[in-house]
Amino acid sequence: MNNHAIRCDDPIFRRIPVTLKLYRPETEELHAQAFRPSPRDIDGLSVSRGKTDHHPEFLSLEQVAEVGRNPQGYFVAELSLISLNSHNIQVVPDPKDDDPGHCLIPSLRYQKPRPSEMLELMELLKQLTIRVHGPFIPEVSADSEL
């Protein structure tokens, strides 16, 4: 493994667009659709390893949200790689220029029709979510207001 080898204590972040209304901050309820792959997720569901002492180059919660392009912003679900490993959920590195900690969950790649295992895995990830942070809403730049 290279220097992107995954450590068990890595936090795993998943961006959830605010516009999809899949999280209710007032009751802390999360919907399993937050872990549904989009048609673009042909190789697996996008997640990010979070910044740690071992990997200071990875992104913080806020930075993971900022990488997203939705102007309405994102919630960020936090999971633990330990818990994913304990359920044999594979997470593979897929570094990007703007997110060096970017990873994929290959068992959640976009498929139609969706296998039952995928539907169960989405429910499981919801249950394994430690907490949901945000919303992180991008500041409107001066240029965009003109």
């Binding site: 961006r15 667009p17 999809l20 919907h31 997203g68 939705n70 539907l119 169960e120």
Partner: protein, 144 residues
């Protein structure tokens, strides 16, 4: 929740219950429950209107908003729930692929009815995260 702190009057004696009812507290609870139900329906109806005004639009993350077909079918299911005083869905969300998922949840059980972008319907029942039932669904037939 507005109703959480209001007492249940069923354990009271008849005399006390009469006084309790006369106090208007019970009516107050009915009012709060009704108000809460109205808010839930308003939230759902508002979401359906947003989708109706922007069907099948792809967002920045590649998620596609519900199609007119899925909106129409889901609306029929929701109308049937209202007309038959069935439980209010806990969630009505996009499936991100042109469809809609309607959830009814009770503790560790969850029923999901999904209308895909072409109108195909599927019923799924989960116990915790385990899928215990999955089958094609025809809600008009189910409600008939």
């Amino acid at each position: 929740m507005a109703t959480a702190n209001l007492p249940d009057s069923s354990y009271l004696s008849n005399t006390t219950q009469t006084a309790y009812l006369a106090s208007g507290v019970s009516n107050q609870r009915d009012f709060f429950m009704e108000y809460e139900e109205q808010l839930k329906w308003q939230r759902i109806d508002s979401q359906m209107k947003v989708w109706l005004s922007h069907p099948e639009e792809e967002d920045e993350d590649g998620y596609v908003s519900p199609s007119l077909v899925s909106i129409k079918l889901a609306s029929q299911l929701l109308d049937a729930c209202k007309a038959n005083s069935l439980p209010i869905p806990n969630w009505v969300v996009t499936n991100g692929d042109g469809g809609i998922v309607v959830n009814f949840e009770s503790r560790d059980r969850k029923m999901a009815i999904e209308f895909d972008e072409s109108g195909t319907q599927e019923l799924r029942i989960f116990f915790n995260h385990r899928l215990v039932e999955r089958r094609p669904f025809d809600f008009i037939g189910e409600f008939a």
